[in-house]
């Protein structure tokens, strides 16, 4: 049975993927994938640096350590 995939735009102007296979219709909102934790950590550090919240190596170390603790509690 052939599968047909198309897209439509929802009321927010976002892409919705429409998959039709026989009588089945699946509609799913398409959003960028969630970044893996390590990428989230880098993004947080970059955000802190952009704000001027990290001014030296000691503060950078503290920020990284806090992120490690957040991402791996109990380690």
């Amino acid at each position: 049975m052939a599968t047909q995939v198309s897209t439509r735009t929802n009321e927010y102007g976002e892409e919705v993927r429409v998959t039709v296979k026989g009588s089945r219709i699946t509609e799913e909102l398409v959003r960028p994938p969630v970044a893996p934790p390590e990428n989230q950590a880098v993004a947080r550090i970059k955000a802190l640096k952009a704000k001027g919240a990290i001014k030296n190596d000691q503060e950078l170390y503290a920020a990284v350590q806090a992120l490690v603790d957040y991402l791996s509690p109990g380690d």
Binding site: T26, L29, P37
Partner: protein, 158 residues
């Protein structure tokens, strides 16, 4: 009306899902179950743009299948309420709104569960909730915001 599944032990589509998150005003647990979802095969769908207190469809299936996991979480610590509504075969089986929460990466489980251990390790249980003709999953936040809610799902299509 009888159905074949009554006699062969199959799962009938539910008319209600009742658990610790199914009553309005539940407290969001202090637990992270979003950041390692992907490592455990849970499909994440971000909310996109939301209008405050307005339900938005994230997943709609016309046809039969099985919902094995469904949970909703906020991705940051901004204070908001989270609403998750699941409609199976035209019947609303789960519809609840949390108390205001400021806990990032936490929310509710409607079907199955998932527990955060570390960023790459976790544990979870999966359920099997059948739908015969349709599945609709909608979410809402108390805030107007974009991509701040994350829906997690695992489902099968018949």
């Amino acid at each position: 009306m009888s159905s074949l599944s009554q006699f062969i032990g199959g799962n009938l589509p539910p008319t209600a899902i009742v658990n610790g998150f199914s009553t309005d005003g539940y407290t969001v647990p202090v637990a992270d179950f979003v950041t390692n979802r992907i490592a455990h095969g849970i499909k994440s769908i971000l909310s996109g743009a939301l209008t405050a207190a307005t339900l938005k469809t994230l997943l709609s299936i016309t046809g039969g299948g099985v919902l094995k996991y469904c949970g909703l979480a906020a991705v940051d610590a901004t204070s908001r309420t989270l609403r998750l509504r699941i409609t199976i075969d035209g019947t609303v089986v789960f519809d609840s709104t949390s108390a205001a929460s400021t806990i990032a990466n936490a929310g509710c489980h409607a079907v199955g569960s998932h527990q955060f251990v570390t960023a790459t390790a976790g544990a979870g249980t999966r359920d099997r909730i059948s739908f015969a003709t349709s599945l609709l999953i909608e979410v809402a936040s108390s805030l107007s915001e974009t991509d701040k809610l994350s829906l997690g799902v695992i489902y099968e299509e018949n």
